[in-house]
């Protein structure tokens, strides 16, 4: 199956800064790909180079198998972008803005599609409101609607939920999942790691213009995820008996254990605590977090995949 997006040695050199350094990547049709990295890592430059906002220095970009150096226009009919910066045209209403966007993509007015998006993004009541009268969160949602109104097959969401409240963010996540079910490919950048954890099928980590890691999210979480177990005791424990892994806190009332791939499991530690007749009273488990993995990869640990 032709990938939705293929990058080969994509490089962008500004005067003194290499924003993208020979980035190669394939994103399959119908997947949600989260591109993660710190500010200035190259995420937005990468998206810009694909969407026609940044002039690449070298390398190849293929959208749906079409090299953009050969045909830079046709593949764009199937691409949508939610830019990081909020923009709006103050001369038009929400509905007019969406109709204009449909038109740019060669489509006649399709109010049914517009209504569907307005409902999904909780903007129905604002359909005939001038865009300048929208709140920041509403403007952000309008950007999402504009990116989707022409039914693109590949959507770039560059920080799509910045400034959007929690409830609506979760609604958006549901909508993104629906998009994937319909076969849409989604490339997502976000500073909410929880968002990437929730949505992504695969994760790419970029820093300094270099793609440090690309991996299936579930496999990455299994490979690098660390779960923290905290076992609380009903009475102070002076020292941990032999065979019980972990760290005892200063007052002897809690045992902390970090479960790492290849090491003993939390369940084994718990069993050993019971076997040693420690006064186990309670258990807290902090699941593996993508955020921790991102920090470790950015610090140079266990990348190169």
């Amino acid at each position: 199956m032709t990938p939705a997006l293929e990058l080969e040695s994509l490089t962008k050199q500004y005067k003194t800064q290499r924003a993208l350094d020979a980035v190669s990547l394939r994103i399959g049709a119908g997947e949600i790909f989260a591109l993660l990295g710190p500010n200035g890592a190259g995420k937005t430059t990468l998206i810009g180079a694909v969407c026609g906002l940044v002039k690449k220095t070298s390398g190849t970009v293929r959208l749906f198998g079409v090299d953009l150096d050969v045909d830079g226009v046709t593949p764009r009919y199937s691409v949508g972008l939610v830019p990081q910066e909020i923009n709006f045209d103050p001369f038009f209403t929400v509905r007019e803005s969406l109709r204009i966007q449909q038109g740019y993509f060669g489509q006649r007015h399709d109010d049914a599609r517009i209504d569907e998006l307005l409902a999904a993004l909780a903007l129905t009541a604002k359909a005939d409101t001038q865009t300048r009268a929208l709140s920041g969160g509403m403007k952000r949602r309008l950007l999402i609607a504009k990116a989707l109104v022409h039914r693109p097959k590949l959507v770039f969401l560059d920080e799509p939920t910045a400034g959007v409240d929690v409830e609506l963010r979760r609604d958006l996540w549901s909508y993104v999942r629906r998009l994937r079910e319909q076969g849409t490919t989604v490339v997502l950048t976000t500073h909410y790691l929880e968002e990437a954890e929730e949505l992504a099928d695969r994760v790419g980590i970029i820093d300094g213009g270099r793609l440090l890691l690309v991996e299936d999210k579930a496999a990455l979480m299994r490979r690098m995820g660390e779960r923290a177990w905290t076992v609380r005791f009903s009475a102070p424990v002076r020292a941990l008996p032999d065979g019980v892994a972990g760290t005892l806190d200063d007052d002897g009332r809690a045992l902390t254990f970090i479960e790492r791939p290849g090491g003993p499991s939390g369940a084994e530690v718990l069993r050993s605590a019971y076997a040693a007749q420690l006064p186990v009273a309670d258990l807290a488990l902090r699941p593996a977090k993508l955020e921790d993995i991102l920090v470790r990869v950015l610090n140079g640990q266990e990348a190169d995949r």
Partner: protein, 252 residues
């Protein structure tokens, strides 16, 4: 070719300026009407005829040209530059709109405004004098070419400009002196030397002469004016298209 996309951009541009008619139509119309009234009743009172035409009638083509040139330029430059500032230019850069579609949308939209103001200026003039059209084809040709040329120049200025100040550079330092010294309110033929010869270097003189020839039928026409307009139109089109194709000052 994304014809529907180009049409959408054109319609958007027209709707944009129609949303603020006081600023985009009425204000320029009042300015040119004031020019007409003041010059007609001051200069016209002294010099009743120019080239055998009543002064009031003589200045109509120049004022129509002025309305077209200023408004076509302003529409293209301000609309495009504001899109750059607001970030909404992203919408058209990401869309399947090539240089030809972008050029068409912005330029045609600006031409509509320029021609609308020109037409209304002519309408205002009809309240005061008769303003017949002697040669319809020549008149239309000059009207359309003038609107086109200044629309494309406005687009080029907006692509090039990085600050508002730069947008105003062209109308303030180039268009204003060239139009006021371009024979809009007087006949260049009546100037003494060396001013007559110097004026011949001003392209606006020939553009105004061409339109005047078309509307008033005072001369055989202005092949030089036509040639200049065509030359500027072609050059500006090539420059604008290339800027859009390369993403000059539009893409990082």
């Amino acid at each position: 070719m994304n014809l529907w996309g180009a049409r959408t951009l054109l319609m958007k541009e027209v709707r944009r300026f129609l949303r603020v008619p006081g600023q985009t139509i009425l204000q320029p119309l009042i300015s040119t009407a004031l020019y007409f009234i003041v010059f007609s009743y001051t200069v016209g009172a002294v010099q009743r005829e120019v080239d055998g035409v009543p002064y009031m009638q003589f200045i109509v083509p120049g004022l129509v040209f002025l309305g077209i040139a200023n408004n076509a330029f302003l529409n293209a430059s301000s609309s495009f530059f504001i899109m750059k500032l607001q970030g909404t230019l992203v919408d058209v850069l990401v869309a399947p709109l090539g240089p030809a579609e972008l050029l068409f949308g912005f330029v045609a939209g600006a031409m509509v405004r320029g021609l609308l103001v020109g037409l209304l200026t002519w309408g205002v003039a009809l309240l005061f004098t008769t303003a017949p059209v002697a040669h319809v084809f020549t008149t239309l040709l000059f009207l359309l070419l003038s609107a086109y040329v200044f629309s494309v120049l406005g687009l080029v200025a907006a692509i090039w400009a990085e600050k508002f100040e730069q947008i105003n550079f062209f109308p303030t330092f180039l268009m204003l002196p060239l139009t006021f010294l371009g024979g809009v309110f007087y006949s260049v033929a009546s100037l003494p030397e060396p001013f007559r010869s110097i004026s011949a270097l001003n392209p606006v003189v020939h553009m105004v002469e061409g339109l005047r020839a078309g509307m008033l039928g005072t001369s055989e026409g202005s092949p030089l004016g036509l040639g200049l307009l065509l030359g500027v139109a072609l050059t500006a089109t090539v420059v604008a298209r290339e800027m859009l194709r390369r993403g000059y000052r539009l893409k990082s």
